[in-house]
């Protein structure tokens, strides 16, 4: 047994974390009573400078320090340094960082206590925290039909297990389906993705539930009851032949979600020609019949009897599954929040998803880069008649690495911006392209080489993010500091592309409560262990894959999709699923600690 007399515990409260979900007074009394530690300092006595720590170490003759709190790792260097200064072993500083164990949900006081008990007895939490198993239902629910969800579904279904793939929109494919090329290989994104989408549709083990949302999750690991709401599609998926006569006759228009608002679609529509399922659906918000009770043009035009039912209502379906994979992806940053870049104000300032569509051979202009223009009804769209830009500037880090918006790096923007430059030069060889960047983060296999290649292609790389975009004489003026040259540059361009970052999906908080898995302070789902279990969660039977865990590019999302599938297949083969860290009780941890210390 460790000598607790010479152990000092410091309860740390991170000054920027408000509100802190933990009750530190309760932890204090727990340490005093149960763990038998006498030298404890609560967060309001926390020694912030070297002198105070030295004083505490010397008066109490401490030779082991424990710092416990949310994000306690931030002060570790200070304490290790002081230990070395006082001639003690700097390694004898133990950090108990609660958030590393998913303590961002408020009801986790027992886990905090368990972690403290382990730290005081110097036994790793992972050794004592062994969860029980439960029998598993072999069916799996995958939430989200993007590339990560598709990959996970296919892996599991090809292993002969049943998969329910729930997708919120009318088609699977996610964000990747809208992209033209992938980086750094410049493969055609659709050529990789669409066969997989078709495979999902044809696999007998996959129940594809498009235009559906998970609204309730009950039950325990291995045996979840999930209520899925089938939103009223108003078109019978079984009988629709996808002929498109209805859309031809439909008088109502709305901006196309798939084309990132760069074209208009009808109220009855198919998201894109290769959609899976390749069936029409009706957008209730723009449908004239649903708003006014008059129209039914689609019903009259439809050649299949009773295929369109405009009065169809939402329907709740209950399914039983053993495992759940969350693959809900991300939400693009809303560029108009950064007013200085003029998105939404100047017509030729585009966000990257719009530009992606503009470059796409199946996009609004068939891959020609054109100015934005107004159609007859006044909608801002892209078509092939408005002329080509000659100078295009791409601004990196819009909404990322910025404390006013999102402080994290979105990981993909540097690379897709480089890809944009390449594609622009491919389509408009005479054009000038400028990349305004802060740091070029070409971190993956082949990425740095890709960066070198783009530089050689003649793209102007300007280190220094520009501050604002103004419109002057019909051109867009960018003022920026070229940090490497040490000069100010005023650059007049025709088109500005904002490389917007990735944000956690808007449903993340709702799902987090529903599934009982925590989100990080930024809003991404929290993994069980960043290094060795990146697709696992603290709750048994729930895995995750793709960008819902954090910003991620396509290869990483696919890898995580397979990894999450491996966790699921493992539990199906074993017939059991671990109940997860969240079910481990404090008393179980305490008794395990006792056993282990007796052995010692």
């Amino acid at each position: 047994m460790k000598n607790t007399e010479q152990t000092g515990v410091f309860l740390y409260k991170h000054p920027e974390l408000i509100p802190d979900p933990l009750d530190y007074n309760e932890l204090y009394s727990y340490l005093k009573g149960v763990a038998n530690v006498s030298n404890i300092w609560s967060y309001n006595d926390f020694p912030w400078n070297e002198e105070n720590i030295i004083k505490k170490i010397e008066t109490h003759n401490l030779n082991r320090l424990i710092i416990a709190g949310m994000m306690a790792g931030t002060v570790k260097t200070l304490f290790s340094k002081v230990m070395a200064m006082t001639g003690k072993d700097p390694d004898n500083v133990t950090i108990v960082s609660f958030n590393d164990y998913g303590l961002s949900l408020t009801n986790d006081m027992d886990r905090a206590k368990a972690l403290l008990a382990c730290a005081v007895s110097d036994i790793p939490f992972e050794i004592v925290a062994i969860a029980d198993d439960s029998p598993v239902n072999p069916a799996t629910l995958v939430i989200g039909g993007g590339i990560a969800g598709i990959q996970a579904s296919l892996e599991i279904a090809n292993g002969n297990s049943l998969v329910y793939l729930v997708e919120k929109t009318g088609t699977i494919g996610g964000k990747m389906a809208t992209f033209d090329k992938t980086f750094p290989t410049l493969d055609c994104a659709a050529c990789i993705l669409t066969p997989k989408m078709v495979e999902v549709n044809q696999n007998p083990n996959i129940r594809l539930m498009s235009y559906c949302e998970v609204i309730e999750v009950n039950g325990t690991p291995g045996n979840f009851n999930v209520v899925v709401r089938q939103k009223a599609r108003k078109v019978n998926v079984a009988t629709c032949i996808g002929c498109g006569t209805c859309a031809e006759k439909c008088p109502a228009q709305a901006p196309s979600e798939f084309d990132a608002g760069t074209t208009m679609r009808k109220a009855i529509y198919i998201p894109f020609p290769q959609a899976v399922p390749n069936k029409y659906l009706i957008d209730a918000e723009s449908c004239i019949y649903i708003k006014n009770g008059k129209c039914k043009a689609c019903v009259k035009a439809c050649p299949v009897p009773d295929c369109i039912n405009l009065d169809e209502q939402d329907q709740d379906i209950t399914i039983n599954v053993g495992n759940i994979i969350v693959a809900t992806g991300y939400k693009p940053f809303e560029a108009s929040r950064m007013e200085q870049f003029g998105y939404g104000k100047f017509k030729n300032v585009l966000n990257s998803l719009e530009f992606e569509r503009l470059l796409n051979a199946s996009g609004p202009t068939g891959g020609n880069i054109q100015y934005r223009s107004q159609d007859k009804k006044g909608n801002w769209i892209f078509n092939n008649e408005s002329g080509k830009p000659e100078k295009i500037a791409i601004i990196h880090c819009v909404g990322s690495r910025d404390k006013n918006y999102n402080k994290y790096c979105s990981r993909v923007c540097c690379m897709y911006s480089l890809k944009f430059s390449h594609l622009v030069l491919e389509k408009l060889p005479e054009a000038e392209v400028f990349e305004y960047f802060i740091d070029m983060r070409a971190f993956g296999k082949g990425y740095e080489e890709f960066y070198e290649r783009i530089k050689e292609e003649g793209v102007s790389m300007i280190r220094g993010k520009t501050a604002k975009v103004e419109e002057k004489g019909g051109k867009l003026l960018l003022r920026g500091e070229d940090i490497l040259q040490g000069t100010l540059i005023a650059n007049y361009v025709d088109m500005v592309v904002l490389s917007i970052g990735l944000e956690p999906g808007e449903d993340n908080l709702k799902l987090s409560k529903m599934l009982g898995i925590p989100v990080t302070e930024c809003g991404w789902f929290e993994e069980a262990n960043y290094n060795v279990d990146p697709t696992g969660t603290f709750r048994g039977g729930i895995s995750m894959a793709g960008a819902c865990q954090g910003p991620k590019d396509i290869p990483d999302s696919v890898a995580q999709g397979s990894a999450a599938a491996a966790r699921v297949i493992q539990s199906i083969l074993r017939g059991k699923v671990s109940n997860g860290l969240s079910t481990i009780s404090l008393s179980a941890v305490e008794s395990r600690i006792k056993e282990l210390t007796l052995i010692q």
Binding site: D402, G464, T466, A467, R479, T487
Partner: protein, 376 residues
Amino acid sequence: MSIRVQPDLRNELIKYGIGDWNACYHCGTCTAMCPLSEEGFLFPRKKIRLMQMGLKGPIESSVEPWLCYYCGDCTKTCPRDANPGELMMSLRRYLTSLYDWTGLSKKFYTSETWELGFILFFASLVVITFLFILPSFGIKFDTTLTAQGGVRVNSFAPIGIIEPFDWSMAFVVASLLISNIFRMYYKIIWKNSTTKVSLWVHIREFWLLIFNFAVQPKFSKCDDKKYWLSHWFLMSGYTIMFIVIVVFLKWFQTEEILPFYDPQRLLGYYATFGLLFGLGFAIIGRIIHKDIKFKFSHVSDWLFLAMLTGTVVTGILIHIFRINGMPMATYFSYIAHMAILVPMILIEVPFSKWSHLAYRPFAAYFHQLKKHAVPK
């Protein structure tokens, strides 16, 4: 040429202001945002870089901190909360302490004890003079009134005594400031071993000094004009007051109560209005804490505002009490007025925040000289 690096420069600078300047990752947003930053004189990012690298020499010889008028746009848009605007402010305080050869400026900026001690010392000196020393020379608190019913202020504070005192104080302050300006000139222009500026350029550009002193044209280039306007009222009010008190005291401090429209009173009222407007704007701004410009307040900022407000308020009181025939109230307001005014002039003008009245126009002048510098 070797460059001396001072790694603890940040620790020294942090005494002059608040900012997490090491957080800067050099995206250049601040420089690009700044309407005053120009080719060859880029700030604030370059100054942050110098600070991070501990290059005291280049900081000492830079004119850029004086070209910034702190609109706060850089701090507002900084993605790292590195507070570049406040760095520029802190650099101005730091440079003031470097220009000052007496070393008092550094003491006043970094130690509140020194600053408050000096203020109290001079304030008590003024009070002792009026209460004990002057009466011992036969000057009395005359309670009789003039024919108009006004207070006989000139018998209490004879112009023959006050005026020489004003002049000697102005002389001390001016000689300190001028010697510091020569040090500033030496650091910014003279010491530069690679370029030189011809005498003709020195003469030709001299008008800039007066122009910049009078209207602060650079300040008006900031996107938000209200700061410039309120500063201009404050500055013009103060300059007028200073001139009438030091140069035209005989004309300004009269016992006769002149009609309301007399230039003497009108000028006084304008100056008071200008001062109150500028002060009110700054004080309310610093209390509300919303504008970036007023968000971070160093002790020296508050002290300056408090003393100037004290001076203005007691000045108004003297005027009201005098024309309403309240002798004792007038005299005590006069003592309070002088007890605040004297330490303010002695401390703020040569050593602290107020020295910018000289450094800013000279910096605009030096900036122009640097632009016309030719390689040696």
